[in-house]
């Protein structure tokens, strides 16, 4: 990347200074540079090849058994009397599943392939077990070395299939907890238009509070699901990629679009907010869909009401930066859709193909997007408001935003 900017000459000089061994006056400087860059890689490849061929030497040849690691990503209950365990080997070595126990009883089971699961490979294990509707069950895999990997089915209930009925159910779920609240929030637009500049700032600060709350929430969720990601996939690394990569990528895109130095338009800020909230809601939809389909939460009226109240404020957040402008209804609907509809997508994905890895990534991206939005808003405040975010009324707004999320959050169990 840097090389493109500085050109070969500049890079060559810099290297010559830092690297006295390089030939300073080689006829083809760029060819040499390529060689210098590739030489360590070539040696590394050679070393890896040697290791693979003859095996590690000396101290690495350990007498103790390798640490086995299996991650049970999901247990589905496709029908009465049947469980399917989805397992991935995220450890350093192949693992052989030798036996399966359900609720402290050895049980018949069928593996969809070899019992020995290679690194990063997946298997489904079908267990004809008479699970009991509404009750918890514990599934335990015993490997050939006697190690055990357990998972708990919190509340046994038939796993939804991706048929029309369930697609509708989960679409409705997403609409309830994501789309409707956001659009309800957008209905504040006429009200916001009547607000004075100072109070608009207040609401914008409130939005910052909401977003910070959502961002931290998404970050925490990402960290939590990261612990359930198979080790080799490095849940924490995924979080880092999402949380740092997303704002940097968004910033780079924005930078390219408007050129450096110019301020962000109000609509752009609103769009960013909508994207950030949308990504957060995608993760939220994933979590809700997965939790509902695995019976971890009962989708009671209370929970729906909780999410309604909790997420309605998100619509307000989108509005605040564009309250003084005259966006078309179409644009408002678009912003609402960007923020709300991902909940439906998330609910579908979560319900039918829940994976801790993807959930972690989505939450991390959501958190990262919000980091970017908050950053933009802070800059916006610096430009438009005297005293910036720390003006007393703005601080009150920010605190109010946090508090609203906290209080409405009380209505959402877990």
């Amino acid at each position: 990347m840097r090389e493109n900017v500085e050109g070969p000459g500049a890079a060559g000089r810099a290297e010559g200074a830092a690297f006295p061994y390089s030939a300073p006056s080689a006829p083809s400087a760029s060819g040499n540079r390529l060689l210098l860059g590739l030489a360590p890689l070539a040696l590394l490849a050679l070393l890896v090849f040697a290791f693979l061929k003859v095996g590690p030497l000396g101290v690495f040849r350990a007498a103790f058994p390798p640490v086995e690691e299996l991650t049970i990503e999901r247990v589905t209950l496709p029908k009465a009397g049947e469980m399917v365990v989805h397992v991935v080997n995220g450890g350093p070595e192949a693992v052989t599943v030798a036996q399966v126990q359900v609720d402290d009883a050895s049980w018949l089971h069928y593996v969809d392939g070899e019992r020995t699961i290679g690194r990063l490979e997946r298997r489904s294990i079908r267990i004809p077990y008479p699970w009991v509707e509404g009750e918890p069950h514990v599934v335990r895999l015993i490997t050939s070395t006697g190690l055990t990997f357990d998972t708990t089915i919190e509340v046994a209930t038939t796993t939804p299939r991706a048929d029309a009925r369930y697609l509708t159910t989960f679409a409705l779920l997403g609409v309830y907890v994501g789309v409707i609240p956001v659009f309800l929030g957008l209905l504040w637009f006429p009200f916001l238009r009547t607000a004075s500049r100072r109070w608009l700032d207040f609401f914008l600060a409130l939005t910052v509070g909401l977003l910070i709350f959502l961002g931290v929430d998404a970050f925490a969720e990402a960290l939590e699901t990261a612990t359930r990601v198979a080790g080799a996939f490095q849940g924490l690394g995924v979080v880092l990629l999402g949380v740092l990569g997303t704002p940097l990528a968004l910033a780079a895109i924005a930078h390219r679009k408007r050129g450096a130095g110019k301020g962000t338009s109000a609509f752009h800020v609103a769009l960013l907010i909508a994207i950030g909230i949308g990504l957060h809601n995608l993760g939220e939809g994933l979590a809700i869909g997965a939790a509902y389909s695995t019976g971890a939460i009962a989708l009671g009226t209370f929970l729906i009401i909780g999410f309604l109240l909790h997420n309605t404020t998100e619509g307000l957040g989108i509005l605040a930066p564009i309250a003084t402008e005259r966006p078309s209804v179409g644009r408002l609907v678009m912003l609402g859709a960007i923020a709300g509809v991902p909940t439906v997508l998330g609910a579908w994905i979560g319900a039918f193909t829940y994976s801790p890895l993807w959930t972690t990534l989505f939450f991390a991206i959501g958190a990262g997007a919000i980091v970017q939005v908050v950053w933009e808003l802070v800059k916006l405040f610096a430009r438009r408001s005297e005293g910036g975010l720390t003006a007393p009324l703005n601080v009150a707004g920010l605190m109010a935003g946090l508090l609203i999320m906290y209080v409405t959050g009380l209505l959402v169990p877990a």
């Binding site: 009465a80 036996q99 402290d104 004809p128 006697g146 055990t148």
Partner: protein, 345 residues
């Protein structure tokens, strides 16, 4: 829900099966298509269909790899030692016992890094007659200190509790066999828990001078394995291998006496039991009496306790035997007697 449950429970009792039947009855029809597949992959019952809710689903899948101690062989394998006569006329029985580390298979495909006597768990069944001179040449080829502690009456230095044998060294245990009964030997090195659950134990039978009535004799050592070393057992069994006798029923002759030498050496869950189906047995606790017994169908014993069970089957067919602790039974301590008409010449 609560209204329905007594009814369904009654219906289940009618079905006359054990607990696992619960949702299984209803599911049986639905899973019939899987039966052929099940039989193909794991022959648990010598050809009977695997039907949901029956005991055939509650099983360890697969077969032992070759070279492992066959629990079926172990049942009737007795080590009488090398017999000679001492100058005073006493019978001398000499045994060789070697402690060695070995990986054993405790359920098909599940390997356990055991400490063994003579490479097997349980160790060899040492058998002699009351009044014999018993001489055990013990060599420790394991990586840790071990010993052999015999139950029974013997001098203090033959007790194996204080004389610890380091790796590479040997010791000779020698004593007169008394009293008759079913005894036990095991390693007494601390930490004892680990030395026991790693597999250092075996049956020690001292026969009464006048002998016991002729019978088919079976040694059953109730044991368990903590395969992930969390101080809880994952696998329960008699004679080490989970569900072995369920998948390979023990043949028993109809109308003839069967005698089981039953030992409890389960670590962690110290109480174990045995229940036989369709019959009652005479229970001789510790086997130290030939006359005092109890007429029952369950015996429950603490760790280290043993009992001699004698029974005769009245009806042919398959009869289960198992720990009457459902959890142990479902984690491997479960088997079948196949009662057959004796072949008459």
């Amino acid at each position: 829900m609560s209204k329905d449950s007594p009814l369904s429970r009654r219906a289940l009792l009618k079905a006359g099966a054990l607990g696992t039947v619960a949702a299984g009855g209803a599911a049986a029809l639905r899973t019939l298509h899987g039966v052929a597949e099940a039989q193909q992959r794991v022959d648990t019952t010598g050809g009977r269909a695997v039907v949901h809710g029956s005991h055939d689903a509650m099983v360890a899948v697969g077969e032992l790899s070759p070279g492992q101690l066959d629990p079926t062989v172990f049942l009737t394998q007795f080590d009488y030692g090398t017999v000679s006569r001492l100058p005073n006329g006493q019978t001398l029985r000499e045994y060789r016992v070697v402690a060695e580390d070995r990986e054993i298979e405790v359920a098909p495909g599940v390997f356990y890094p055991a400490w063994t006597y003579n490479g097997q768990v349980p160790g060899p069944t040492i058998r002699c007659t009351e009044g014999d001179r018993v001489r055990i040449h013990f060599t420790n080829k394991g990586a840790h200190i071990h010993s052999i502690h015999f139950h029974g009456i013997h001098p203090a230095n033959m007790d194996g509790a204080f004389e610890m044998i380091p790796p590479g060294e040997s010791y000779v245990y020698e004593f007169d066999a008394e009293p008759f009964g079913l005894h036990l030997y095991h390693c007494h090195t601390v930490p004892i828990k680990r030395h026991i659950h790693k597999g250092l134990y075996g049956a020690f039978i001292i026969d009464p001078k006048e002998g016991r009535p002729p019978a088919t004799e079976l040694v059953m050592v109730m044991n368990a394995f903590d395969t992930n070393f969390d101080n809880e057992n994952e696998i329960y069994a008699v004679n080490t291998v989970a569900f072995h006798y369920q998948k390979h029923p023990i043949p028993v002759k109809l109308g003839e006496l069967t005698r089981v030498y039953l030992i409890n050496i389960t670590e962690f869950d110290l109480i174990n039991s045995m229940h036989i189906h369709g019959n009652m047995f005479r229970l001789y606790r510790t086997g130290t009496s030939l006359t005092n017994y109890e007429w029952t169908d369950i015996v429950t014993m603490g760790q280290g306790e043993r009992a001699v069970l004698e029974f005769t089957y009245k009806y042919p067919g398959q009869f289960m035997f198992h720990a009457h602790q459902s959890e142990f039974a479902e984690l491997g301590w479960s088997g079948i007697f196949r009662v057959e008409e004796p072949v008459r010449a």
